[in-house]
Structures are given as C-alpha cells and as structure tokens.
Symmetry: C2
C-alpha cells in the first residue's frame, strides 16, 4: 500500500559535500550541501541559495573546491551547514580545520577531508527554481590513505556518510552488496 506524502524533496541517499571558497579578504569559507553533485564526466552542479556567502565568493573568484565529508570530521561538516559565513566571520577558524591553496584553481583545499574536486566555475544560472552553478572538474585530490594498492579510491576507506532528508539523520556507509553491471547481468540474457 502506498501512502501520499505530498510535495517533498525526497531522494536518498543524499551526499554531504563541502564547498570551499575564498572570501574577499582571502580567508576561507566552507558550506555544506546536499543538493548537487556530478552532472557529467567532468562537471558538477551546485544548487544553492544566492544569498549564501559561498555564492558570492564563487562568482567573484570563479572557482571552488568540493570535498567529501568523512566520519572523523562529521562534527565540523555539520557545523559548516549550521553557521553562515555572512554573519560568522571566523567560521572556518572555529572549525579547527586547515586549508591550503589549490595549485590549480583560486580556491582553498580543506586538508582534513579525504577527497576533493578542484573546480572552475563554468556558468552561474538563475533557473526557474533558484541559483545554479556549473563547475568544471579540473582535478581530483585524494588522501593516500583512501587509495587501494592500485591507486583507486576504496569507498570503505573514505569513511563517508549520507544525509537523510526525511528526518535529517546522518548514516554511515555499510557493507558492499553488489557490483554495477554484474549484479543484474543475468536478466539481460534471460
């Protein structure tokens, strides 16, 4: 039996992604985003409110980085979604995390997060629903700790977590349950 829940922004899982930009004075701003991610082989889409400090920063600098939050820094990642850089001038400092300048784009790389996409702003759009930023991925930086012996990212080592839009919980990633393009292959031959 299906029950109607009305109009709700309910896809699951949602990622916990951190957008890092430079403020006008060169200090670091970081915000937490669930509504966005990869939209092409070399592109990401961010769906933001235009009044975020991040939105102004990435229009001014034409660049941002996008990091995956990990469990050891869940407290900081959540904080980046509560506090606003518009009002809290020392937001990044308070987190206790550290950043270095990206070698490729005019944006900071948060050193504690395990995986970071370095991105150039390609397009800022005012869409029918709000502000949307397209970023070109110019490189991905991975902490060596999350790489397997072949140099590939091992999702189990990322310690990433998931956002639930139903009750605003965070959930860990569980065990491996299948392999894409294999798990359902027998139905193709049926």
């Amino acid at each position: 039996m299906f029950k109607d829940l009305g109009v709700q922004p309910y896809t699951f899982p949602m990622p916990v992604l951190l957008i890092a930009t430079y403020n006008e004075d060169g200090s670091v701003d970081v915000m937490n985003m669930a509504w966005g991610g990869v939209c092409a082989e070399n592109m990401v889409a961010l769906n933001l409110d235009e009044d975020h400090k991040t939105s102004r920063n990435l229009k001014a600098r034409g660049a941002f980085t996008l990091s995956i939050a990990d469990l050891p820094h869940i407290r900081e990642a959540d904080f980046f979604g509560i506090a606003t850089g518009n009002k809290m001038k020392d937001k990044f400092e308070r987190s206790g995390l550290h950043a270095q300048k990206s070698a490729r784009v005019d944006a900071p790389v948060v050193e504690e997060f395990p995986l970071t996409l370095e991105c150039k702003v390609v397009e800022c759009q005012h869409t029918v629903y709000g502000f949307r930023v397209l970023g070109e991925i110019v490189n991905v930086l991975a902490d060596e700790k999350v790489l397997d012996e072949k140099g590939k990212v091992d999702p189990a080592r990322l310690n990433a977590f998931v956002f639930d839009p139903f009750r605003s919980g965070y959930y860990a990633i569980g065990e491996k349950v299948g392999q894409a393009w294999h798990t359902g292959a027998e139905l193709v031959k049926k």
Copy 2:
C-alpha cells in the same frame, strides 16, 4: 599526502535512482541514474544522454517517476542500468517487476520500489555538458512499510543502497551516526 587523480566524476555517495516513463505504445521503460536528484524543495534534475529511450519518452509525455531502489530489488535495479529500452523491447517485462499508472502524472509507478516521486517535466535543456531535465515533484508515494509510527520515512526501513563511482560497487546504508544541525552545534557556541 594528497595524490592527483586527474579529471574524474567523483562525488560519493551517489544514489541509485530509477526513472520510469511510458513508451509510445504504452509499455513501461525504466532506467537507472546516478547523476541527478533534488535541486530545490519541489524539483529534481536529471542529467541524461539524450539518446536514451527515457529522454525521448519524457519529452513526449511530459512526465516521469523517480524511485529509490532497495536491496530486495538490487538485481532488477542494476539490470535497468545495463539493458537499453532502445534495443530491448521487453526490458521492463524481463525485470519481473510490476507498474501501475500514476494518478497524477502520465508515467508509471513501479510497485516494488519503496519510495517514488511523481514528477512533471518543467524544462528540457541542452546545456554546455549535455541533456538536462528539470522535473517538478507533484507528490511522493511511500510504501507503508517504510514509514514510522509518525508517518515519516525511516531511512533504515528503506533498505536503500549507494553507488560508488570509483570501482562501480554498490554499498548498503550503515548505522545512524549523527543528526544534522545538532552534531556540530557546539562549534557554533564556541
């Protein structure tokens, strides 16, 4: 130490979402998508290749549904990402799943998936990177089994899983590890 991985479509976790549409003869087509999801309170964005059967169907009918795959149907969900409705005329039939017509939009609702967004096509765009569809969420349907005593979706009951773009694995959702806007709240007061 960071290592450069080059240009890669690496955000994590990615969802496993199923787009269901009607073919021109009224039969059902379903495809599996990782690049898309909620972009506003009442909207979703789909990033697709325009030559998918799904793309043609949703242009013709102006509607689709978007479902969350669950572990009991991981085999079928993966199959929907392998086979193409352009070549396999009985794709949905082979999956063994069932569909009913949505009461609100001109698209099928797959009965076995636990949560489904009923969507109207708002915009089909040719962007700098490819084909993008904006859908307005007109209702969310939830299987009663995934609702808690207050009628809210319980993520643990969804049995959803995650796609990993690094090694194409599927992972279960793990235990609850935090609560948004609480886990990092002490840093705000610091």
